[in-house]
C-alpha cells in the first residue's frame, strides 16, 4: 500500500502532475499558475517541469480563460483552468453557463467538452471581499455541468484525476481553508466513483450531510454529539451535481433524520434541493423535517464577522438537537 501523508494542496498538485504526465493533451491554464505556481501554489513547479506550452500563464481575463479553454477542448485538448478565487469566476460565468454547459447537447452529443474549472472557494481565511464565497448552487443549477468538491487529501487527489478524465465539464470547488489539512493519499488505490457519497463517520440517530469545507465541521460536531450519547452519521456528499441521492437515502433510512450543512446561503442552496428530494423519497422514514444549516441571505461579511457567519460546531449541534427534539 502506497499511502502517503500530504496536504490537500499537495494532493491537488500531485494530481495535476499525474494528469500532465499521463495525457499530453492535458493543459493547465490560469492567472499566475506558471512561475508563481498559483496564489495558493497548487500548480507549484508544474511549469518548470512541463513547460510553458502545457502550463500556461494567461492574461488577466476570466471570460478569456474559459472561452479559450472551450476552443482548446474543441481541438482535442483537456484544459484544466484555475480561477484565482470564487468571486472572480463571474466574468467567466457567461462562457461557463451559456457555452460550456450546453455545447455537447447542441451538437447532438457529437462533441465533448472535457474542461475542468478549478475554483478555490468558501471562507474562513480572513480575506477581503470576493475571496470567500460559495457559489456552487449557481453552477449546480445549470444542466450540463458537473459540480464536485473534495473534503480531504485522498479525494482531492482522486477526484481531480477523475474530473480531468471526465468528458463533461466539471466545476471543481476546492475548500481553500482546508488546503493545509493533511491526510493519507494512496496513489495506487482504486478510487470510488466521482459522484458517489461517502459515509465519513457511521452513526444511528441522525445524518449530517455536507461537502467540501463543512465535512470537517460536521465530523467535529458528530464527535461532540457522541460525548452526549448521540450517534451521528456524517455523509460527505462529494458531488453537488449529480447528488448521490441513493447513497444519502440509504443513510437517512437508517437514521431517520437529516441535517444538511453548507457555507452557502440556505435560501435556494444545494441543501434546499436535498431537503426536497429526501422528503419525497423518505417521507415515511423521517422522524423530523430535513433541516438546513448554512449562510444567511446577506453578502459574505467582512473577515472579522466570518466566524459568526460561518456555520460552526454550535450551529450544527443546535440543528442536531432541534431535529432530535421532534
Amino acid at each position: 500500500m502506497a499511502a502517503v501523508k500530504m496536504s490537500i494542496a499537495k494532493a491537488l498538485n500531485e494530481s495535476l502532475r499525474k494528469a500532465l504526465e499521463t495525457d499530453p493533451k492535458v493543459l493547465i491554464m490560469g492567472e499566475d499558475v506558471g512561475k508563481l505556481g498559483g496564489v495558493f501554489r497548487i500548480t507549484d513547479g508544474l511549469q518548470k517541469d512541463f513547460g510553458e506550452e502545457r502550463v500556461i500563464d494567461t492574461p488577466l481575463a476570466e471570460s478569456g480563460i474559459v472561452g479559450t479553454a472551450i476552443g482548446l477542448a474543441l481541438r482535442g485538448y483537456r484544459p484544466v483552468v484555475e480561477i484565482q478565487f470564487d468571486g472572480f469566476v463571474f466574468p467567466a460565468y457567461d462562457q461557463i453557463v451559456t457555452q460550456l454547459a450546453k455545447m455537447h447537447a447542441r451538437a447532438l452529443g457529437k462533441i465533448k467538452l472535457p474542461v475542468v474549472v478549478r475554483i478555490p472557494y468558501a471562507g474562513g481565511i480572513g480575506a477581503v471581499e470576493h475571496h470567500s464565497e460559495s457559489p456552487e448552487a449557481l453552477f449546480a443549477h445549470v444542466p450540463g455541468l458537473k459540480v464536485v468538491s473534495p473534503s480531504n487529501a485522498s479525494d482531492a487527489y482522486w477526484m481531480l484525476q477523475q474530473a480531468i478524465l471526465s468528458d463533461d465539464p466539471v466545476i471543481f470547488f476546492e475548500p481553500k481553508r482546508r488546503y493545509w489539512d493533511k491526510g493519507d493519499v494512496d496513489v495506487e488505490a482504486i478510487p470510488g466513483e466521482l459522484h458517489k457519497a461517502r459515509v465519513a463517520r457511521p452513526g444511528t440517530d441522525l445524518t449530517l450531510a455536507a461537502y467540501g469545507p463543512m465535512v470537517k465541521v460536521c465530523l467535529e460536531a458528530a464527535a461532540a454529539a457522541a460525548e452526549e450519547g448521540k450517534s451521528v452519521e456524517v455523509v460527505d456528499l462529494r458531488s453537488m451535481s449529480p447528488v448521490d441521492f441513493d447513497g444519502l437515502q440509504a443513510s437517512v433510512e437508517r437514521t431517520r433524520r437529516l441535517v444538511v450543512v453548507h457555507e452557502a446561503p440556505v435560501f435556494l442552496g444545494v441543501g434546499a434541493e436535498i431537503a426536497a428530494r429526501i422528503t419525497e423519497r423518505c417521507f415515511y422514514h423521517l422522524e423530523a423535517p430535513v433541516l438546513r444549516v448554512g449562510g444567511f441571505h446577506a453578502p459574505y461579511p467582512p473577515a472579522r464577522l466570518e466566524d459568526e457567519y460561518l456555520p460552526g460546531l454550535d450551529r450544527v449541534l443546535d440543528a442536531v438537537d432541534r431535529s432530535l427534539a421532534y
Partner: protein, 405 residues
Amino acid sequence: MTVESTAARKPRRSSGTKRAAGAASARKTAAATAQPHDAEPQLVQLLTPEGERVDVNDNPDVAEFAPYVEDITTEDLRGLYRDMVLTRRFDGEATALQRQGELGLWASLLGQEAAQIGSGRALRDDDYVFPTYREHGVAWCRGVDPTNLLGMFRGVNHGGWDPNTNNFHLYTIVIGSQTLHATGYAMGVAKDGADSAVIAYFGDGASSQGDVAEAFTFSAVYNSPVVFFCQNNQWAISEPTERQMRVPLYQRAQGFGFPGVRVDGNDVLACLAVTRWALERARRGEGPTLVEAFTYRMGAHTTSDDPTKYRRDEETAAWEAKDPILRLKAHLLASGGADEAFFEALEAESEALGKRVREVVRAMPDPDTMAIFENVYADGHALVDEERAQFAAYLASFESAEEGH
C-alpha cells in the same frame, strides 16, 4: 463634438508595430517571442530622474502638455512633495500594521506616488473618481481620511466611507469592473450637461478584462467625459505586461477612437499636466482619453505575495533610481524651492500621521455581529428579517444558558 473628430486626432506616439508580423507566425501559444513594447518607452516627462526640468523646446510632444502646469508655483511643488511623502508614510505604516497582525491584508502603492498624486491633484472637487484597491494617494487628494481606507483591509467593513462625500467611489477588487461604472457615470454627467469629468483607475493587467474593452467601447460611442488612468506598474501579481499585451498599452485607445498618452508615472509634474489635459478634453466634450502612467510597483502585489518567486532584484533596483519622491526632492533642493526646515517639519508631520494611523487602527472595533443583516436591501426584505430574528434568538440562547449557570 463628434466621435469622428476625436478619432481623427493623431495618436500621441506610434511605434512598436514593426515587429508584429513575424511574431504572429511563431506558432507558440504560451511563449511569446517578441517583446511587446519599446525597450526604452517614450514618455511625456517634465522632470528627469535627476530632478531637472525638461527643456520643452527640445520636444514638441512634451510642449503640448507643459502649459498645463505653467501655473504651478514653488509652493505647489512643495505641496505635491508633501502629498507624496505623507502618502508613502501612510502606506508604509499600513504595511507594518499588516505585519503586526492589525490588518488582514495590504495592497501597497510604494513607487506609484507620483502617478496617484499627480493625477489626483489634477481633479476638481466635482469630478468623480472610480478607484481600484491601491489608490491610497488619490484618496488622500480627495480628502478621504486615510484611516477610513483601512477598515476593509482590517476586515471590519467592505468599504468604509461614503463615496458621495468626496466623490471618491469605494475600492473595487474585481478587476476592471469599475471602468464601466465610471463610463456610465460619465454618460450621466454628459446627459446632465455638467462640465465635470470622471476618472477611472486600473492596472495594466486589468486592461485584459472584457469589461475594460467594453468601457472603452461605450465611452467612445457616447463620447463620455471619462479619463481612463492606467497605472502600468509592469506586473499583475506574477505576470509581466508581456502576458497581457503585444503593443504598448496607450496605443490601444486609437483603435477605439480616442487618444492615448504614455506619461512618466514617476514624474508627478508630468502626471499632473497630462491628467489636466485629459480632463480638459473631457470637460470640453471631446470624450475619453487613455492615460498610461508608466511606473513600477516597488513592493509586493499585496502583503500575501512573494515577488522573489517571479521578478529579479536588478529590475527593482533599476526602478529605485527613478523614485518619484527623491526626484522632486532633488529638484526642490537644487532650485532652492525648499530648505532644511521644510523637510524637517514634514518629517515631524509624517511621524504624527504614522502615530495617528497606528492608534486609530488599533482602536478600530470589530463590527457588531448583527451587522451581517444590515443594509442587505434598501427597502427591507422578509427573508432577511426572518433570518435576523432567528439568529438573534439563537445568540440569545447562549446568554440565557450562561445566566442559568
